[in-house]
Symmetry: C2
Subunit: 332 residues, 2 copies
């Protein structure tokens, strides 16, 4: 075990689009566990659009400040323990930040099962899979035969949302950038249709894919795509608000979508925001469902694993540009 | 009974603010009932901000077109019946439009009790009271001790929302235009605080009135006031979307409020649109509650009755400018 702790610091807060130049690779000393703490070694760092949102200010967590080790969740292994609930070798998911080692209070950490491949603990059995599951089923309340639309459909969450919609007997329409991603959604993942938000005729494509309107829209992006879906919603439709990736990589947006609140009233829509930890009470059932769907082949898991700690900044920037298919992570 | 049927026609659709010049008084023949129909005489016409929204296009009802008799609900009395469920002298609430007599299919009409004063059938026991009741209690789900904010608080719906909030043990904050309306809300209706949306320091007033944030926001206005409340919401807050009167008297707005969907996600808000008829199944209970609160003096009913059919256009324009306190109607 090295005494050196490689770290990536957010050197300056981005004003416009994020670039790798905003980060700096540095080295610290490997931390030691204080009483009640563990030291973990980071194995896989999760890349999430929300990482960028944290740079805009406080959200459901405090803001990231210039000079901080970049924040982020990771699959990590305990290498030193001064806490009763965790032993050396245990796996945990933790907000380690972008560094090789982190000392953390043990009481908020839970031991994860050592299943294969380990990466599934960050994708389908991690935040991405649970976010898709709870957002769709709890906030979206889809009924068999309804039409579910999801944006960022080729991403870690969206690719699972559409597949769960199919498992539940719904029609699934994915919104993603480019025809190639669209083909992947329909040909590989079983979506009924894909719509290219970068195409000039995006709105027409969306209408054609949902000729009777949208019952459930799972929103990962906000902005113009949310606006188009608002206009396409059916009466009594539900919108699950999961994120707003279109609005993260720049200043905070100056306006919301047209149709708010007018369309919400006239169509009697329910719009609900959530984060995955709101549903911690139902985790066990959710993981059991996800595992059975993966085992039966109904749910395909797509992961995008990039090798090398030093590639974290570029991996996040690329994710914000829509490079990834499925869950992106960096192997440390 | 006159054979003449005075009518007010929407001569042209407004492009900008509505004015009395958009209407024309005309006369037709009193209609006769066909089989299954009744002819009703209009007693009191309800004035509602939604009347203006109907001119912007189809909503939960079809749009009003230039040349149509202006649409609107009214308390009316059956003067001729060719239907089994209604007799001459029965009272109904119906979309008569702005005319003295209307022939209507009887099967969608329900006889109202002849209580005193009759005007309460249009205010507290009509659409206004039921809208306040269902919007607050079903969509807002307020719990005792929470803070409820309502906009257009001196209007027909808002004035009742705040009082029901108090009855349910909540704090009630009303947003209205001008200090005089605010004093009326606190001194006469028992609101805990009033906030003047026309004041330069509106946002500061709102923060001071809700130092711990807003649990339930009942939105009648949309626009900048909705935006300010979004920023003031507490985590897991609920917004009941009832209307958007700030956005009716002009072209359809180009943008929605800032913070959509960002604040909805990070605060995990529930935003729900509704119209009163969505809750028809619970009408009986609602009316019983409203009647008991009126009887006990817990719920004060404020009505703004204008005399004279020909005053309808000016009455609506004035309502859109916030002239009224409580339920505005025109006695025909």
């Amino acid at each position: 075990m090295s005494d050196v702790n490689r770290q990536i610091v957010l050197e300056q807060l981005p004003q416009g689009p994020l670039s790798p130049d905003h980060f700096r690779l540095t080295e610290g000393e490997r931390p030691r566990a204080a009483d009640g703490e563990v030291v973990v070694k980071t194995l896989y760092v999760s890349l999430d659009a929300a990482n960028r949102a944290w740079m805009q200010g406080a959200t459901y967590r405090s803001a990231i400040n210039a000079g901080d080790v970049m924040a982020g969740g990771a699959l990590a292994e305990v290498v030193e323990s001064r806490a009763p609930n965790l032993a050396v070798g245990d796996l945990v998911f933790a907000d380690t930040g972008w560094q090789e080692y982190a000392a953390l209070p043990a009481k908020r950490l839970a031991k994860l099962p050592r299943l294969e491949p380990l990466t599934h603990l960050l994708s389908v059995y991690g935040v991405a899979g649970l976010t898709a599951y709870f957002g769709l089923l709890e906030c979206g309340q889809p009924k068999a035969g309804e039409t579910v639309v999801v944006s960022a459909a080729a991403g870690s969450v969206g690719s699972i949302v559409g597949q769960i919609a199919k498992i539940k007997g719904c029609g699934a329409v994915g919104i993603a950038g480019g025809a190639e991603k669209g083909r992947w959604l329909t040909d590989e993942l079983g979506f009924d249709a894909a719509v290219d938000y970068k195409a000039a005729d995006f709105k027409r494509q969306l209408r054609e894919a949902c000729p009777e309107g949208i019952d459930v829209y799972f929103d990962n992006v906000g902005g113009d795509v949310l606006e188009a879906c608002l206009f396409g919603m059916k009466t009594f439709g539900r919108i699950a608000c999961c994120g707003a990736v279109s609005q993260y990589d720049g200043d905070a947006p100056r306006h919301g979508p047209r149709g708010v609140p007018g369309l919400i009233v006239t169509k009697r829509l329910s719009v609900r925001g959530f984060i995955v930890s709101d549903f911690d009470d139902h985790r066990t059932q959710a993981l059991a469902d996800l595992q059975s769907w993966v085992a039966s082949g109904q749910l395909k898991v797509q992961e995008d694993v990039i090798d090398g700690f030093e590639n974290l900044p570029q991996a996040l920037v690329g994710l914000l540009h829509g490079e990834n298919r499925g869950k992106r992570m960096v192997k440390v």
